[in-house]
C-alpha cells in the first residue's frame, strides 16, 4: 500500500513512533507524550479556525474547558465511566459552538477575535462563580479512570486510549480538510470576498468550521480531564487560549501538521527549558516576535524550505555528475 499523501504518511509514522513509547516503561515519558497528544489535538482544532479559515479566536479555551468540565461532571455525578464521559464531553461542545458561533461569526475578524475573548472569559467567570456545581477555583477532583465500560487506570492503558483518539482524529480532520467541505473552508481563508460569488454563504461555512473545531477542542479537553483526574477554571482563562495559538505559530500555520510540531516544541520548551532557564517565557516571547517578523512559516516552514533546498542542491549535483557520465 503506497500512501501518496505526505501528511497521511507522516501521521502513520508518528503513530508508529508513539506506539513505541509505552514500551520504554518510563512513566514520565508516557505522561509527557500523553500531554503532547492532547495539546496537539487542541492546537490542530485551533488551526482549523486560524490557518484554514482565517479566524483568529482568543476564546478557544472555552471549548477545551466545556469538554473537560462536562466530562468531569458526568463521570462524577451521572455515570462513572471515562468513555461515556468523553462522549458526553465532546457532544457538549455542539450547543456551545452553535450558540457562540451564531452570535460571534457574523462579525469581521478583529471584532470576532475580541468577542471570543469576552465569551471565553464569561465561561471562566461562570466556572469560578458557580461553586456549587463547578467547585469554583478549586475545581473538581477524582475524575475516574476506572469505569463500568472500560478501565484505563494503568499508564499504558490510558496512553493507548489517548493515542487511539489522537490518530483517528488527526486523520479524520485531515480528511475533512481534503474534502469538499474543507475546500470551502480553505476558500474562506484564502479570499473571503470572492466566496459569495460561488453561491455559498460565508456564515454557514464559518459555522460548520467552528463546530468541527469546537468538537475537536472539546475532545482534547475531555481527554485532559480524564488524564489529569482534576479540572480547574484556569483551563478557561484567556492565557490558555493563547497556547494553541503559540503552538500553531511555532510549528507553522500553513501546514496541516504544523500545530503538532508546534505542540512538541512547546512541550519540550516548557519542560526542559523551564528547568534550566527561569526566564524561559522571555525566550518564548522573543521566539514569537522573531517568528512574526521573520519566520512566519514557523518551524514547519523552515523544515520544508530546508527540504526543498537540499533536494534542489542535491538534484543539481546529481545532474552535474550524470552530465559528466554522458548518460
Amino acid at each position: 500500500m503506497v500512501i501518496r499523501d505526505i501528511n497521511l504518511a507522516l501521521i502513520i509514522a508518528l503513530t508508529a513512533l508513539l506506539l513505541l513509547v509505552p514500551l520504554t516503561g518510563d512513566r514520565f515519558y508516557i505522561y509527557i507524550t500523553s500531554l503532547f497528544m492532547i495539546y496537539s489535538l487542541f492546537a490542530l482544532s485551533y488551526n482549523l479556525l486560524f490557518g484554514y479559515a482565517g479566524l483568529l479566536s482568543f476564546g478557544h479555551a472555552m471549548f477545551f474547558a466545556v469538554g473537560a468540565y462536562t466530562t468531569a461532571l458526568f463521570t462524577l455525578k451521572v455515570l462513572r465511566d471515562p468513555l461515556a464521559g468523553l462522549v458526553v464531553g465532546v457532544l457538549s461542545s455542539i450547543p456551545v459552538a452553535l450558540v457562540v458561533g451564531f452570535l460571534t461569526l457574523r462579525h469581521t475578524r478583529v471584532y470576532f477575535a475580541i468577542l471570543t475573548l469576552a465569551f471565553g472569559m464569561l465561561v471562566y467567570a461562570l466556572l469560578v462563580k458557580w461553586r456549587s456545581v463547578t467547585g469554583g477555583t478549586d475545581g473538581l477532583i477524582g475524575i475516574p479512570k476506572r469505569g463500568v465500560v472500560i478501565d484505563i487506570s494503568s499508564p499504558t492503558a490510558y496512553y493507548l486510549f489517548i493515542l487511539t483518539f489522537f490518530t483517528i482524529t488527526t486523520i479524520g480532520l485531515y480528511l475533512f480538510i481534503k474534502s469538499r467541505w474543507g475546500l470551502l473552508v480553505r476558500a474562506l481563508g484564502a479570499n473571503e470576498d470572492r466566496l459569495p460569488f460561488t453561491g455559498r454563504s460565508p456564515l454557514f461555512i464559518r459555522l460548520y468550521t467552528f463546530l468541527v473545531s469546537g468538537l475537536t477542542a472539546s475532545l482534547s479537553g475531555s481527554l485532559y480531564a480524564i488524564f489529569m483526574g482534576v479540572v480547574t477554571p484556569d483551563i478557561a482563562y484567556w492565557t490558555f487560549s493563547a497556547e494553541p495559538l503559540v503552538m500553531t505559530l511555532l510549528g507553522g500555520a500553513s501546514y496541516y501538521l504544523g500545530p503538532v510540531l508546534g505542540a512538541l516544541t512547546f512541550i519540550i520548551l516548557t519542560t526542559i527549558l523551564a528547568r534550566y532557564a527561569e526566564y524561559w517565557l522571555l525566550l518564548l516571547g522573543l521566539a514569537v516576535i522573531a517568528i512574526v517578523i521573520g519566520f512566519r512559516g514557523g518551524l514547519g516552514g523552515m523544515l520544508v524550505s530546508t527540504f526543498y533546498t537540499v533536494r534542489e542542491r542535491s538534484g543539481v549535483w546529481i545532474r552535474w555528475r550524470y552530465s559528466r557520465l554522458k548518460i
Binding site: R106, A118, A125, G285, I289, V292
Partner: protein, 287 residues
C-alpha cells in the same frame, strides 16, 4: 436605599473607573491611529508602576517620579513601535496581535529580571494622606486625586487631538492615511508619537497605582482584560466614549459589589458580551 452608602460606592466606582480609563485611553488612541491592538499595553501599565518605584527610590519626590516614569514608559512604547511594530503594519492584523503578544511576554519577563519576583509597593505621599468623611466612610484624598487626574487627562487628550496641530495630523492619518501622505504628513512620525503618548498615559496609570496596590509579576495579564472590555464596549477609537465607558464600568462593578456581591465579575463580562452582540462596533464606535 441608603443614600450615603450609594454615594460612597459611586465615588469609589469613579475612582476605579479612572484607573480603567488611564489603562484604556492609550489602547484606544493607538488603535484609532495605527489600527494595532496593543496586547502589551497592560505590561507597559505595570512597567509604569515599577519605574515609579525605582525613580522614587532615587529622587524621593512623588511628583517628579510620576512625571519621569510616565515619560520613560512612553519612550519604551515608542521604542517598541520603531523597532518592532513598524515592521508589521503591512501584515494581517492577526500577526500584529501576535507580535504585541510576544512583546507583552518579553516585557513581563524583563520586569521579573530587573525587579525580582516579589511585589513592590509604595506609600502614599504624606501631603495626600488625608481623607474626607461622608456617611461614616472615609474617601481618601488620593482617590479623589485620581478621579481629578483622570478627568484632566481626558480634557487634555481631547484638547490635543481636536485642537492642536499634532492632533490635526493624527486625525488626518486616522481618517485616511494615503491622503495624509499626499498632504505631506509623515505617518511614521504620527504613529510613533501616538505610541509614545498612549504608552505614557498607561505608565502614568501604573505609577499612580503602585501607591494603592502592590505591583508584581502577573498583574499585567489580569489587567489587560479590563482594558479590552472597556475598549470593546466603547468601540475602538473613540476618546469621549472610552472615558464615559470606563467610568461607567467602574461605577457599575462597584455598585454590583455592594448590591449583588456574588456576581460582580460576571456582570462586567456579560455587559461586554451583550453590548457587542447588539452593537458590535461598541456603544460609541465608528464603523
Amino acid at each position: 436605599m441608603d443614600l450615603d452608602a450609594f454615594l460612597v460606592q459611586f465615588i469609589i466606582g469613579l475612582y476605579k473607573g479612572s484607573f480603567y480609563w488611564l489603562l484604556a485611553v492609550g489602547l484606544t488612541l493607538i488603535f484609532g491611529v495605527t489600527r494595532i491592538i496593543n496586547f502589551a499595553h497592560a505590561a507597559f501599565f505595570v512597567m509604569g508602576g515599577y519605574l515609579m518605584y525605582t525613580f522614587y527610590s532615587y529622587t524621593g519626590s512623588f511628583i517628579l517620579s510620576l512625571v519621569l516614569s510616565s515619560i520613560a514608559t512612553g519612550l519604551l512604547g515608542a521604542l517598541s513601535e520603531v523597532i518592532l511594530i513598524r515592521r508589521v503594519y503591512r501584515l494581517e492584523p492577526i500577526y500584529q496581535l501576535l507580535l504585541t503578544f510576544g512583546i507583552a511576554l518579553v516585557v513581563n519577563e524583563l520586569q521579573k529580571i530587573l525587579w525580582g519576583k516579589f511585589p513592590k509597593y509604595l506609600n502614599i505621599p504624606d501631603y495626600l494622606k488625608g481623607y474626607i468623611s461622608t456617611g461614616g466612610v472615609n474617601i481618601s484624598y488620593y482617590s479623589l486625586t485620581i478621579i481629578i487626574l483622570g478627568f484632566l487627562v481626558f480634557l487634555s487628550v481631547y484638547a490635543i487631538i481636536n485642537m492642536s496641530l499634532w492632533g490635526l495630523r493624527v486625525r488626518a492619518v486616522w481618517r485616511d492615511r494615503t491622503m495624509a501622505q499626499i498632504l505631506r504628513i509623515n505617518p511614521h512620525a504620527v504613529y510613533t508619537s501616538t505610541f509614545f503618548l498612549g504608552t505614557a498615559l498607561a505608565g502614568l496609570g501604573g505609577s499612580l497605582m503602585i501607591a494603592l496596590h502592590p505591583v508584581g509579576p502577573g498583574l499585567g495579564d489580569h489587567l489587560i482584560i479590563y482594558a479590552f472590555i472597556v475598549v470593546v464596549i466603547t468601540g475602538l477609537g473613540n476618546i469621549v466614549g472610552a472615558y464615559i465607558t470606563s467610568l461607567l464600568i467602574g461605577v457599575v462593578s462597584s455598585l454590583a459589589t455592594w448590591l449583588l456581591p456574588e456576581v460582580d465579575v460576571l456582570i462586567v463580562y456579560s455587559i461586554a458580551a451583550l453590548v457587542l452582540l447588539v452593537r458590535p462596533e461598541g456603544l460609541f464606535g465608528e464603523r
